[in-house]
Symmetry: C2
Subunit: 484 residues, 2 copies
């Protein structure tokens, strides 16, 4: 008999309604309100109870099914399959608030070789797999561009980029709440160059910049190579930066900038709410603090296109960075930034660093966006990534040692995993590599080498028996390490 449950009203913040519904049901299962074997409300009933659309409810059920918490029984409905073990959600991080020199490059240089090694099972680098990318369409486009492309390669593009691409990005980002003029955009060699240029514009060697904890290691690389120090900020795996503690940090610590990723953060996979974004933008505006917003996965969230902090930025303090490397073609090296009040400075730094970006690649991507191909492509692959992450998450929960927790990414294609405390991530990384599997160890996501019992798995390649076997093998290796 189905349990009747009282659902809260939708938050109305425009992001991931299905996710908050799934979260509520998960909490009910955790709390024991819904028990294993219980039938959960039908889609129709839940729709009425929670004022959500059928597709939102269905979406929430699929997420829960993906997490292995509920199962569909033919002709009957959805039933609770498994109660998440106590503590199965990852807690908000609680790093030291002391600024420190970043030290990841030694480790990373070696790890990157394995992340790029095609002979290994590709769970390490956050690289989209070949079938996830519209290479044939892009190459066909390049051919049909014909004379345009040929005209292209023989000249230096303007440092700020091809007008066609600036226009295409500006119009694509309307959905993210941004109203850009084409000239607000500076095209770069991938988002990494955008991050480095933004950092160089606002900080110098010895300065302190705030980062999420954990954070994408590319941010840390950039900071280490510029001798910029980091202070790690408490970050919730579902809600993002802890704004109360951010306020307290800012009250006693002089920062030159903040770097955050608000949409499908790497490695945690959260999308922050519109309210969170608005409030964060308010905080940095009050402090005149530059905010470098990494939106590399913003186009790859599972729900509707979320907004960015940039959408709430009235004073040009947000420097939005993104790229097409995760969604279209890593090898084309096309990223960009919208650096607000640092626009002129960023153009000069770009000009001084690499002159301009690849000419034809800019034309091809601009045409792909303009023709609507990009949005269609995103619609297709985000659904695939969502499904794959669910399956991968299940596989981890089934095969990893008891006490393992996984994040609940709502975008992108990486999965953050907290292992029992006895398991050393670097040892697991070494053993996995020796077993022919590439994974990303937790310490590279922290300037101070925290996350020593965490790993990140990338599910950017199409789901396959090889990927599944790879994950299970890493789970076995983790079990071996845990009993030592």
């Amino acid at each position: 008999m189905p349990v009747s449950i009282k659902m809260t009203q939708p938050a109305g913040d425009g992001t991931a309604a299905y996710q908050s519904l799934a979260d509520e049901i998960r909490e009910l299962i955790e709390a024991g309100t819904l028990r294993v074997g219980d039938r959960i409300p039908s889609i129709r009933r839940l729709r009425q109870q929670s004022s959500r659309s059928i597709s939102t409810v269905l979406h929430a059920y699929q997420v829960l099914e993906g997490m292995g918490l509920i199962e569909a029984r033919p002709q009957s409905g959805y039933y609770v399959k498994r109660r998440p073990s106590a503590g199965s959600t990852i807690a908000c991080s609680d790093p030291s608030s002391t600024p420190r020199a970043v030290n990841v490059l030694d480790r990373l240089t070696r790890i990157n070789r394995e992340m790029c090694d095609p002979a290994l099972v590709p769970l390490g680098g956050a690289h989209p797999g070949k079938p996830m990318l519209p290479m044939r369409q892009l190459l066909r486009l390049e051919r049909t561009l014909g004379r345009v492309a040929r005209r292209g390669a023989d000249w230096y593009e303007f440092p700020a980029g091809a007008l066609e691409l600036q226009q295409a990005i500006a119009s694509h980002y309307i959905d993210a709440g941004c109203t850009f003029a084409p000239e607000d955009i500076v095209v770069t060699c991938g988002a990494q160059e955008a991050l480095v240029l933004c950092l160089r514009a606002v900080a110098k060697a010895g300065d302190v910049v705030g980062v999420e904890s954990p954070t994408y290691f590319g941010v840390l690389q950039a900071m280490e190579s510029l001798s910029i120090r980091a202070v790690e900020l408490p970050t919730h795996p579902q809600h993002g930066l802890d704004l109360d503690r951010l306020r307290r940090t800012l009250a006693r610590q002089k920062l030159k900038a903040l770097i955050v990723s608000t949409n499908a953060q790497n490695p945690l996979g959260f999308v922050t709410s519109d309210e969170h974004k608005r409030e964060l933008t308010r905080i940095i505006t009050r402090q005149r603090l530059p905010l470098i917003e990494d939106d590399v996965y913003g186009d790859l969230t599972h729900g509707p296109r979320p907004r960015t902090c940039k959408a709430y930025d009235e004073e040009g303090l947000v420097m939005l960075c993104s790229s097409f490397s995760k969604s279209l073609a890593p090898g084309m090296r096309i990223g960009w930034c919208a650096p607000g009040r640092w626009r002129e400075q960023i153009e000069r730094l770009k000009f001084s660093s690499t002159i301009a970006s690849h000419t034809i690649a800019q034309q091809v991507i601009a045409a792909y966006i303009k023709q609507g191909g990009y949005v269609r492509h995103l619609r297709k692959i985000t659904r695939i990534y969502e499904q794959q992450l669910c399956t991968a998450s299940n596989t981890v929960l089934e095969s990893f040692p008891a006490g393992t927790n996984v994040a609940h990414p709502v975008g992108g294609f990486v999965l953050w995993i907290e292992l029992p405390r006895t398991i050393d991530a670097m040892a697991l990384y070494e053993r996995s590599a020796a077993a022919g599997i590439s994974i990303a160890p937790g310490p590279i996501f922290s300037p101070s080498g925290r996350y020593q019992h965490h790993i990140r798995l990338s599910i950017g390649h199409p789901w396959s028996p090889t990927l599944a076997a790879g994950i299970r093998r890493v789970g076995e290796l983790a079990k071996e390490l845990s009993v030592r």
Copy 2:
């Protein structure tokens, strides 16, 4: 009646024998030993006198003819046409030896827009013209690479570059006296990124680096953007860095690095002798001083492929930088460096700055080199550039104010011009731009804004009535400015 002249023996240093012969004859004309109307020795006779090959002698005559100093009379021989006006050679520069902050970016950012503006007569940017580049061959190659190329774009290339391209560069540089292993090479986004990474590896904000005077403005941009100070070093327009004065500077001034261009230096166009290169390398080795050697035009010298300082570098102190932007495709953004003992550090900096370079472009260029297309292409275009520079040089001497001197480039495609002291290069630049002509004003080639009565013309586009008229028009504008 031909004058009999005693020629010195060839220097035997392997570079530009024709150039030293041309220099000797020019000096004889300057000194009045050969007078206007005098017949100069026949090729056959001069060959015997000077132990040079017929082609060397012929080459020297062509250079002198290009400079407008001699003319061929049918069935008769070569005659002195014009005596270079006193001081018609540009003197060795004599800059202040005080280190100073570089300040070119303000000017450059604007000037670059004009240098890229296709509506202007393109005498400003050192951009090769469309017909000078094998775009059709490269695009055809990209298509025939087929699956390789498709395999390519969907992954991040290794930070140090595609092995195929590293191999191709290593084998191509044997002719420049370098014995590289493929892994000695780090591929970059153009030579500009290579320069920036090399600077970042050996110097930090506030440090002092020595540069040639005048020097390529991209070097200055890179230094300004990194807050590295510059000391300008006396540089001879034909023989390069004044090594005696370099020794004296090093004796009293702590430098973190030297940046030089030894082959077809931009803007002067000289190629230094092997002996000069060997001695320069000896000096920096004794001082353990990193030498950043910009060889961007090394493949575009008019004579045989000259060596590099890197060829004499036994201790890994020379960081050789180059690119394919001047010879193949500016829009592909493929450069590289061979950074000697800083190899690991440069790979890390590259990884942290732009992750990797464009994947397919690396494959295409590697294939073009391997198939022999690159060397054939160079053979063709260097001859064209040499001819064009001669014609342009003549056009300048005919149409510019009396007292104008031009450099004698033996490579590349730019022409450095010294105007009478009364003419302000920035004013000439402004007036030329207003007249629809892009030129490069002298001050951007100096950290301290020297060369205020110098300009650089780029003859990278095919010679045409438009280019000729453009040069003549700049000459008229210069005359107008000189009489004010």
